[in-house]
Chain length 255, copies 2
DNA sequence: AGGTTTTTTTGATAAAGATCAAAAAATTGT
DNA sequence: ACAATTTTTTGATCTTTATCAAAAAAACCT
């Protein structure tokens, strides 16, 4: 489990460079550009160092690979360092429901704490890097660092709030509102990561979006075309440019 | 905030008797019949006593009253002792989405940890009693009692799993599957509380059920009538008897 | 108990989104 | 670079569930 796979690509940013050999690098979090969006958020430098040296461990995941699957025993949480994931739960009869899309700084595996087994699949939608956080050691550290434990409680609670937002979306919104809400949310998260909030490069298929939003892929495609015709978006396959952010926001808020 | 309201009704069970004066009673959790379904689950007697004496505090909530509302500052979690609650989030435009129904042993307020504000309304659907758990003291206790903290992490994670189950329901299931899943889930929870799992007394309106399931109240009513006609249920207003549990389960699992 | 309000049921109709189908576009593997 | 595969778009039609409406039933209030 060292630095596997991934050909060097000549980039210079540490956080964007999957091929570096991190096994020698003690302080992964300390130099991470998205530190404040991730588990170390709000910790002092010393605390981050402690978190870092005792537990973090980087691991590449190639596009299409599963980080974990339903039923796997739970050992670690994973913080997305770079890349993009989707999580989905499966119903007996083969139906799947995408429960979320995770980008840099977001934590995967929180649902597995409950029963020591993963209850969803996490699949990389592009070549990605995650920081592995062995949970038993993390819990020990939480007992030593009040601040870390408190932050972690909030992380868990934030996921509950996010999920309830999805419930609102699925339970009360019409298709166009759902899609608008989805795009606005993506844009906001890109923006928080200093990426363009108007030029979205979608990593997931229309089917993934549809599953997440409780719609069929054809409906998603039609809605994107309509938003395009209405001048809200410029849609070129998975490249989506937001032309009228106010208009989108109005769709989300409106009755 | 001692023993407010609620006329005595002559019952003998402590956990079912809202009018008792609990301010003198030090060990609320210790004698609680649903202790193993609640926060103290898995703690030793000594640990429960510690949790109990330092933090629990009982409080009646009358039918129709709010335990807290969206925007209230977060101070405490609440464990339902007896009774029945619903939680709902509101969209700007007045639309509301019911996010859950809580019964004895279940915890209210977990979503508020995230931002120190409640993000939903919690309303009692019948005269109820809750145990108030001041969260700052609870967090301190978690730092002292590893076991409590670990259990609490699981409680939070379990709520995430529950929410994702609702996403599956709302995103991938048809109306009849949703309603069947809802009834099966209620029955299971009643059963865990030693109440009949075939004679359900619903505490919520058809509209509440509809909101939770992403359906209109008329649809819920029609479905109940259909299940009745098909011999799956006996429906008499809010009294619902499950006549064919296997049939219901088949509806939930089937394609 | 009796009048008022709320909730539930049921019917008729409408609308949103699903399904089926097929071509176009994009991506992938070699 | 090219053939194979996957994804996306668009059209025609069908199904499910929402909407509108009104009566029946239940719950509430004083």
């Amino acid at each position: 489990m060292g630095a596997l796979g991934f050909a060097p690509s000549g980039a210079t940013h540490r956080a964007r460079e999957p091929s570096m050999d991190f096994s020698e690098l003690k302080s992964v979090c300390c130099g991470c550009t998205i530190r404040e969006l991730c588990l170390p958020a709000g910790l002092t430098d010393q605390e981050v160092l402690l978190l870092d040296q005792h537990m973090s461990h980087r691991q590449p995941v190639k596009k299409g690979e599963s980080l974990y699957r339903t039923g796997d025993t739970f050992k670690s949480l994973y913080a997305v360092s770079t890349g993009f994931f989707k999580t989905s739960i499966l119903h007996e009869d083969g139906r799947a429901q995408v429960t979320g899309f995770q980008m840099a700084g977001e934590i995967l595996g929180l649902d597995a704490i409950s029963a020591d087994r993963h209850v969803c699949d996490a699949v990389a939608l592009e070549d990605s890097v995650v920081c592995e956080v062995p949970f038993d050691r993390f819990e020990e550290l939480g007992q030593l660092m009040t601040n870390l434990q408190r932050r972690f409680n909030r992380t868990l609670s934030r996921e509950i709030v996010r999920d309830q937002g999805v419930m609102l979306l699925l339970g009360s919104m019409r298709s166009e509102e759902r899609l608008a809400a989805f795009l606005v949310n993506l844009a906001k998260r890109f923006s928080a990561r200093k990426q363009s909030s108007s030029e979205l490069v979608l990593r997931m298929t229309r089917e993934d979006i549809g599953s997440y939003l409780g719609l069929k892929l054809e409906t998603v495609s039609r809605l994107l075309s309509r938003f395009h015709d209405e001048g809200l978006l410029a849609v070129r396959g998975r490249n989506i440019q937001i032309l009228n952010a106010d208009g989108l926001n109005r769709l989300v808020g409106a009755a």
